[in-house]
């Protein structure tokens, strides 16, 4: 008899999104998948609208990363209207984007992913949350987190025009220049961010890496997948969140592909499966071979960890120190002068995220002290319609691609988005399956701790499905249902936060 275990978040009472674990007759995990309902009709909503509205439409797809959608849309419009923004505009965009990264990665570490480690993977769910983190590390650190979010939201508002849904991105540039007094303020915020990022890495060191049990968990095979990895790199082959080429490395660390974002369709395909609304992108040249990892499977991931796996070292000095340390901890040899063989231990994504937090902070300081950043030349007025454009950025949770086509009047005729989390759908499924297989054996009793570790397998991806779809568990109460093949309830476990 096949049993089905369901991890079912009930943030909304009807329970959107769930993880299903199917057991075989022997009580071992046979298959897993996660399922989420999809928002409907986005492309239809957009067609016929003016292309220039897209930065202000797409930034409303989702409340989590409006800045990423705004930026990808703005870059797509540069292409649609065939216009190259002035250097200062590009730098302001990246400065804005760096502040966004600082807030997003900070929130994930302290409020979402970090509690698994700081409070502990076996702690009751009711304690694995930001309150548990504050209880463990102290009120002062809680204030630092809120302060960090606040000062960077201030920068996002200052540069982006609004606190939540930015409006400043325009085809050909940015709607406002930066005054010297504003620049000085941003510089100070960037310096504070660097201190905060270093503090966070130290906290990770003290609370996680120095805890033998947690370190063993990170280094264990439970969370290892040898897939391809994706990230955006600049002309030096180094990570950049705002602009560059898309690089894919194979599981051994060789560069498999490097291409302009505009050519994404030559490199990626998507498959759909009968039981899920989700699309599963894969590398076209390798092909879709089901939920398997390895070089012969076209499954790839696009995460903070894969961004570091593809980069020729970090572009900033302090981030480089921590980058070297992380790869040394995993015993990775260098495959080029500055790049290491990939880390496939997916829980290292949390560490990579903190290194990116430091990089974003350092990059913010570089840009805030760039003499050109206060240039008044922030816009080139578009004078033609090319009619097609792709814009791509690294969203915190993966490569984000917007692709638009328009008619000769600039009205949209085609819209395609590949959002950050979508890249990782297949990889997330792999991780859930492997974690479940390692942790649930021969009908062993399903405890909260085991299910927490299954949850950890997808939480490390920082999945944001409110744009890909809608909702997936972050820190949420869970209902676990074990069912037989006919769907009859065998057992129900409940875990409230």
């Amino acid at each position: 008899m096949t049993k089905r275990i369901t991890i079912d978040p009930i943030t909304r009472l009807e329970g959107h999104g769930k993880i299903e674990i199917f057991l075989d007759d022997a009580g071992d995990v046979e298959h897993t998948y996660f399922q989420v309902p999809e928002l409907r009709g986005f492309e239809q909503f957009c067609l016929g609208r003016k292309a220039e509205d897209m930065p202000n439409i797409t930034n409303r797809i989702c409340g989590v990363c409006p800045e990423a959608h705004h930026m990808a849309a703005t870059k797509a419009l540069d292409a649609v209207f065939g216009v190259e923004p002035p250097p200062a505009a590009k730098k302001i965009r990246e400065l804005f984007y760096s502040a966004f990264y600082v807030t997003d990665h900070t929130t994930h570490f302290y409020a979402l992913g970090g509690p698994d480690f700081i409070v502990g993977p076996d702690a009751p769910a009711s304690e694995r949350n930001i309150l548990g983190v504050i209880a463990k590390v102290g009120v002062e650190i809680g204030r630092k987190v809120i302060d960090c979010r606040s000062r960077n939201h201030g920068i996002i508002k200052l540069l982006g025009g609004r606190a939540i849904h930015p409006t400043a991105g325009l085809p050909g540039g940015w709607s406002r220049a930066i005054a010297e007094t504003e620049r000085a303020h941003i510089e100070q915020v960037a310096r504070d961010n660097i201190d905060f990022a270093l503090f966070s890495l130290q906290a990770f060191d003290d609370l996680v890496l120095k805890n033998t049990a947690y370190l063993e968990l990170i280094l264990s095979d439970v969370y290892v997948h040898r897939t391809y990895g994706m990230g955006t790199v600049d002309a030096n082959g180094q990570v950049n969140f705002y602009d560059g080429q898309i690089r894919v490395v194979d599981p051994a660390g060789s560069v498999f592909a490097q291409y302009d974002a505009a050519d994404y369709a030559q490199h990626l395909s998507e498959t759909v499966l009968p039981y899920s609304y989700l699309k599963y992108p894969y590398l076209k040249r390798v092909g879709w071979h089901g939920f398997e990892d390895g070089a012969r499977s076209g499954i790839y991931a696009a995460t903070p960890l894969t961004r570091l796996n593809v980069t020729e070292g970090m572009p900033t000095p302090r981030a480089q120190e921590h980058f070297d340390r992380m790869y040394a901890t995993f015993g990775c040899a260098k495959v080029t002068d500055r790049r290491y063989a990939p880390i496939h231990h997916r829980l290292a994504t949390h560490w990579a995220r903190l290194i990116e937090l430091l990089y974003a902070s350092e990059r913010m300081l570089e840009l805030a002290t760039d003499p050109e950043i206060t240039s008044p030349l922030v816009r080139v007025i578009p004078e033609r319609i090319v009619g097609e454009g792709v814009g791509s950025v690294e969203a915190p949770r993966g490569t984000l691609t917007h692709h638009y086509k328009t008619d000769e009047r600039g009205l949209l005729t085609m819209v395609n988005l590949i959002v950050g989390t979508t890249n990782n759908h297949a990889a997330i499924t792999l991780s859930i399956k492997k974690a479940a297989q390692s942790l649930i054996k021969k009908g062993s009793v399903v405890t909260d701790g085991i299910l927490n570790k299954v949850e950890m397998a997808f939480r490390l991806y920082d999945p944001c499905l409110s744009c890909a779809t809608h909702s997936l568990p972050g820190h949420m109460p869970l209902i676990v249902r074990i069912r037989d093949r006919q769907g009859a309830l065998v057992q129900e476990l409940r875990q409230d936060s």
């Binding site: 997003d104 504050i134 606190a163």
Partner: protein
Amino acid sequence: MTRPRATRTRTTRTVVIGVGNPILSDDSVGIRIARQVQCCLGAAMPDAGDVEVTEMYAGGLRLMEALTGYDRAFLIDAVETGDGPPGTVHTFARQDLRALRNVSGVHDTSLGMALQVADRLSLPLPSDIRIWGVEIEDGMAFGEELTPAVAAAVPRVVGAVLAALQS
């Protein structure tokens, strides 16, 4: 986030926050109500005190940060409790927050959790937090229209919020 604002002594400072996605059909109902409340404010409502109306499509910490520093916070959101047909208006207290559609999100804590964080960090939370939730029919399709039953609830909630502002 605490924002600077003009200090008006002896007035109650209230923030009205419409929560939702403005382009996701019924999910936008809170935002639409907040916009109408904004339109009704002004000279006609001398007893409302110092009122700021804002919109959010984010729950948890972001929403908590948006209401710190005020004396009162009135939130309006879409809900799917199943307790009543679309258009049913529920009122909630702080402890009921889990039922709301947008105040908890995957990349954030729930608002209830975030408010506990604020308490723990001694952030200045409003002493009076009231929530209106409108039962919705379709919050999964992109669109700029409300379904009829939900649209019919809008003026009722606008009236209730305006009355509460003057209370």
